[in-house]
C-alpha cells in the first residue's frame, strides 16, 4: 500500500538530525514539522526572514506581522531571530541551511528538479525555490510518484522548465525512497512503502535507477 501524504512526511522527517537548520517548502513539506522526533532538536528557517519557527498560533495569538513563507500565521520560539529577506537568502545561498524538503512536479535521474512552471498555464513565480535548491546543503524532494494521468514524475530528463540542475539528493514518494550519496552517482531505491514491489516501482519510474532493497 503506497504511503499517504502524512506517511511520506513522516518518512522524510527521519532525515532530520539533531542540531539541523531546515527549510520546509510550501505544501506537503510543511507536514514534516509534525513528525520531528522528540529526541532531536531542529530549527526551522522561513525564507521570509525568520529562524526558529514555532507552531501555528492559538486563536488569540494571531499576529499579522508574523507569518511563514506560505503566508500562514505562525509563532516564535525562545530561540527565534528575525532578519531581512537579503540576510535570509544570504543564509540560504551561503550554504548555511543543512536541509531543505521541497515539493516537485518532476525530478530527473541526474538530480534536476522542476517545480515552478508549467508552460501554457499561468506562472505564479519561483519564489525562493531556485535559491533553496542552489544553496542548501541537502535537498530532499517529497512528491507523488506519478501524476494524475499515472505518468512517472521521476524521469530520465525533466520536460518542464527547471528550478535547478543536479541538486536533488533524495526523493521520497508514495512508493518509496530514492537516494544518492553524491551528485555524480545514480539514485538508488533504498526503501519501499508497505506492499509496494520493486516491479511496481520500476514500472512507474522512467528514471534509470539502482535498486538496493
Amino acid at each position: 500500500m503506497p504511503w499517504t501524504r502524512d506517511q511520506m512526511a513522516e518518512r522524510a522527517a527521519k532525515e532530520l538530525e539533531d542540531g539541523f537548520y531546515v527549510n520546509l517548502g510550501i505544501g506537503m513539506p510543511t507536514l514534516v514539522a509534525n513528525y520531528i522526533g522528540e529526541d532531536i532538536d531542529v530549527t526551522l528557517q522561513s525564507e521570509n526572514g525568520m529562524l526558529g519557527m514555532g507552531p501555528f498560533p492559538a486563536d488569540d495569538e494571531v499576529d499579522a506581522d508574523l507569518i511563514n513563507a506560505g503566508k500562514q500565521t505562525i509563532t516564535e520560539l525562545k530561540r527565534t531571530s528575525y532578519f531581512s529577506s537579503a540576510d535570509s537568502f544570504a543564509m540560504i545561498r551561503g550554504g548555511h541551511i543543512d536541509l531543505s524538503i521541497l515539493g516537485a512536479m518532476e525530478v530527473a535521474e541526474n538530480g534536476d528538479i522542476a517545480n515552478w512552471m508549467i508552460p501554457g498555464k499561468m506562472v505564479k513565480g519561483m519564489g525562493g525555490a531556485m535559491d533553496l535548491v542552489a544553496g542548501v546543503k541537502k535537498i530532499i524532494v517529497l512528491m507523488d510518484h506519478t501524476n494524475k494521468k499515472g505518468e512517472s514524475k521521476f524521469l530520465k530528463k525533466c520536460s518542464l522548465p527547471l528550478t535547478g540542475t543536479n541538486v536533488v539528493d533524495m526523493i521520497v514518494t508514495d512508493l518509496g525512497v530514492f537516494q544518492r550519496p553524491d551528485h555524480d552517482s545514480k539514485f538508488r531505491l533504498i526503501e519501499l512503502a508497505p506492499d509496494v514491489s520493486v516491479e511496481e516501482v520500476r514500472e512507474k519510474t522512467e528514471a534509470d535507477i539502482d535498486v538496493a532493497v
Binding site: A86, M126, A129
Partner: protein
C-alpha cells in the same frame, strides 16, 4: 535637524512621482507592505509604473490596488500567485512581468543600495533565469551574473521611527523593507509609531536615518492576513 516628517502619505509623495517611474515596495505577501503609501500612489494616478516588489498584492489590497487602476506597466517579482487581476492583465498582454528568484531579487536590491552593479550567484544556473546572462566559473562551479536594482522612489513600511529617520521593523514584517530602503533615490517610509530622539536603542536600529528622506505616521493599519492558520489553544514552547 532637517525635517523628514510629513503630514500624510499624499504630502510625503508630493513632487516625487512621474509617469514611467520605477517604484520599489516592501512587503512579503501582505505582511509589512506600505499600505498608506500604496493607497496614495493609487490616488496620485501616476501611470506606467515599473514596480519592484516580491509579490503583487491581492485583487483589492496592496499593489493589487494599482493593478485595478492599470497604473502598473511592469512588475519585477518572485511570486504573484494570489492575484486574479494580475493573471488577467498578464495573459491579455497588458502587463510585463519579470520573475526573479526571491533571493536574487533581495540581493539585487541590496546591491543597488550598496553601489554594486553586478554580482554572481549559483541561483538559477541551468534554468530560464540564466538565459542571456553572463556565466562565469569560480572554483569549478558555474555562476551567473545578476545586476543591482535601484528605484526612483522606495516605499517602505517600518514599525517605529525617530525624528532622525532611524527605523525598527517588527517580526517578519521586516522582509524586503530594509534593502529597499537603501535602494531608493528617495525613500519614503510609513511607520506605526514615531518615538522621541534617543528612544530607539542605537545598537538595535535596523535602518539608519541616512536612508530615509521622508516619513509619515500611518493610522488604523488594516494588516490583512492571507492564511489565518491556528491551532487549538494549548501551551507550547520550544
Amino acid at each position: 535637524m532637517a525635517n523628514k516628517l510629513y503630514d500624510d502619505a499624499a504630502a510625503a509623495l508630493e513632487g516625487l512621482l512621474f509617469d514611467g517611474m520605477t517604484v520599489m515596495a516592501g512587503g512579503f505577501g501582505l505582511c509589512g507592505i506600505p499600505e498608506k503609501l500604496i493607497a496614495a500612489l493609487r490616488d496620485s494616478g501616476t501611470k506606467d509604473l515599473t514596480c519592484i516588489s516580491n509579490n503583487a498584492g491581492v485583487d483589492d489590497f496592496g499593489l493589487g490596488l494599482l493593478l485595478q487602476t492599470r497604473q502598473i506597466r511592469k512588475m519585477i517579482s518572485s511570486y504573484v500567485g494570489e492575484n486574479k487581476e494580475f493573471e488577467r492583465q498578464y495573459l491579455g498582454g497588458e502587463l510585463e512581468l519579470e520573475f526573479n528568484p526571491q533571493g536574487t531579487l533581495a540581493e539585487r536590491c541590496r546591491a543597488g543600495g550598496a553601489g554594486i552593479p553586478g554580482f554572481f550567484t549559483k541561483t538559477g544556473v541551468g534554468t530560464l533565469v540564466a538565459e542571456g546572462k553572463e556565466h562565469k566559473d569560480f572554483g569549478g562551479e558555474t555562476y551567473i551574473m545578476e545586476t543591482g536594482l535601484t528605484a526612483d522612489v522606495s516605499l517602505v513600511k517600518a514599525w517605529k521611527a525617530d525624528p532622525a529617520g532611524n527605523l525598527v521593523y517588527r517580526k517578519t514584517a521586516r522582509n524586503f523593507n530594509p534593502v529597499m530602503a537603501t535602494a531608493g533615490t528617495v525613500t519614503v517610509v510609513e511607520v506605526e509609531e514615531l518615538v522621541g530622539p534617543g528612544e530607539l536603542d542605537p545598537d538595535h536600529i535596523h535602518t539608519p536615518g541616512i536612508f530615509v528622506q521622508r516619513l509619515i505616521v500611518g493610522r488604523d493599519y488594516e494588516k490583512r492576513i492571507e492564511q489565518r492558520t491556528v491551532r487549538a489553544a494549548t501551551g507550547s514552547e520550544g
